[in-house]
Assembly symmetry: C2
Homo-oligomer: 146 residues x 2
DNA sequence: TTGACAATTGAAAATGAATATCATAAACTA
DNA sequence: TAGTTTATGATATTCATTTTCAATTGTCAA
C-alpha cells in the first residue's frame, strides 16, 4: 500500500472523503518536510498547483490533518500556526530559533528524561506532550561579519 | 529606595514618564504575582481601580513593561498573551498545563543543563532564553472522580 | 511657577490570523 | 447512476492586538 493509499484509508476510517484539495495540500506538506510552513505559506504553495482553492479549505484541512495525526502543529510565537509532517520523532526534537535571522534549527534527541521524571514524581502530573523552544543566536549570526 | 521609586527610575532611564495608568497596571500585576493574567484580564482588573483607562493603553503598557524587563510574556497556546512579574527565576521554572481543566502548575527548577550543553556544543547556538511547556493531566483530573 | 515640548492617552478604526456561514459542487455508496 | 453526505469557495465574522490622531499630561529648564 503506497503513501496515497494509506492516506486515503486514514481519511475513510473516520468518514472523510479524499478530495483533490486534500491531496494537493498533503503533497505540498510532504514536499516540504524539512520546513515549518505557516497556513498562509501552505496556501500560497498549494495555489501554484491548484489555483481555484479557497483559503478556508486550507485552514480546514490543516485542522483535519492535525486531528488525524498527519501533521503536527508548531508555535514559534510569531502569531501564526505552523505545521510539520508528523513523525514519531516529533516529540523527540526541539527547535532552536535565531533571534536575529529567524532561522529555525532542529535539535534531534529529547534529553528531557530527568526533567520529566522530576515532574511526574513531584507534581503528580501525567505528561502527554511537551513543547520546548530555545531562543538565541545561530552560528551564522554569531560570526562577527554578520 | 522603595519599589515605586525603583520603577520610576527604570522608566526615566529610558525617557519614559511615570503616569497613573502605568502605576495602576504595575500594581495589578504585583498583586497577582502568582497568576498568569492575560492582557484582557489585566484590563478588567485595572478598570476596577481606574475606570477611565483605555484598552490600548493596557496593551501598550504591557509591551513597554516587557521591553523594560518588568514583566515576562508567556504563551500558553490559548491565543492570547499572558504575563507574569519578572523575576530571575523566570528562566528557571516551567509551566505544566492541564489538558482537561486548564490549570497551570509551576515547576520550579530548570534541569535543562544537559540539554542546553548539548545544544551549545553540537549546534554552535548561543542560548539566550528558553520556553518549556508540558501538557498533560494534573493530579486532580487524574483522580477517577473527575 | 510657568511654559514649552515631548511623551502619553483614549476612542475609534484598522489589521491579520483564523473561523463560521451558506449555497453550490463534488465524492462515496446502494 | 441516483441519492445522500461531505466538502468547497466566497464572503462575512470573530477576536486579539495594533495603529491613528487629536487632546491631555508629565517633565525640565528658565
Amino acid at each position: 500500500m503506497n503513501e496515497i493509499e494509506k492516506f486515503k484509508e486514514k481519511l475513510k476510517d473516520k468518514g472523510y472523503k479524499l478530495t483533490t484539495q486534500r491531496r494537493v495540500i498533503l503533497d505540498v506538506i510532504t514536499e516540504n518536510r524539512d520546513k515549518h510552513l505557516s497556513s498562509e505559506e501552505i496556501y500560497d504553495l498549494v495555489r501554484l498547483k491548484y489555483p481555484e482553492i479557497g483559503l478556508a479549505t486550507v485552514y480546514r484541512t490543516l485542522q483535519l490533518f492535525e486531528e488525524l495525526g498527519i501533521v503536527y502543529k508548531l508555535n514559534f510565537d510569531d502569531g501564526r500556526n505552523r505545521y510539520e509532517l508528523y513523525h514519531n520523532e516529533n516529540h523527540q526534537h526541539h527547535h532552536l530559533i535565531c533571534l536575529k535571522c529567524g532561522a529555525v534549527i532542529e535539535m534531534e534527541g529529547d534529553l528531557l528524561e530527568n526533567l520529566e521524571e522530576a515532574i511526574e514524581e513531584t507534581k503528580d502530573f501525567e505528561i502527554i506532550d511537551h513543547n520546548v523552544k530555545f531562543f538565541g543566536y545561530c552560528s551564522k549570526c554569531r560570526s562577527r561579519y554578520n
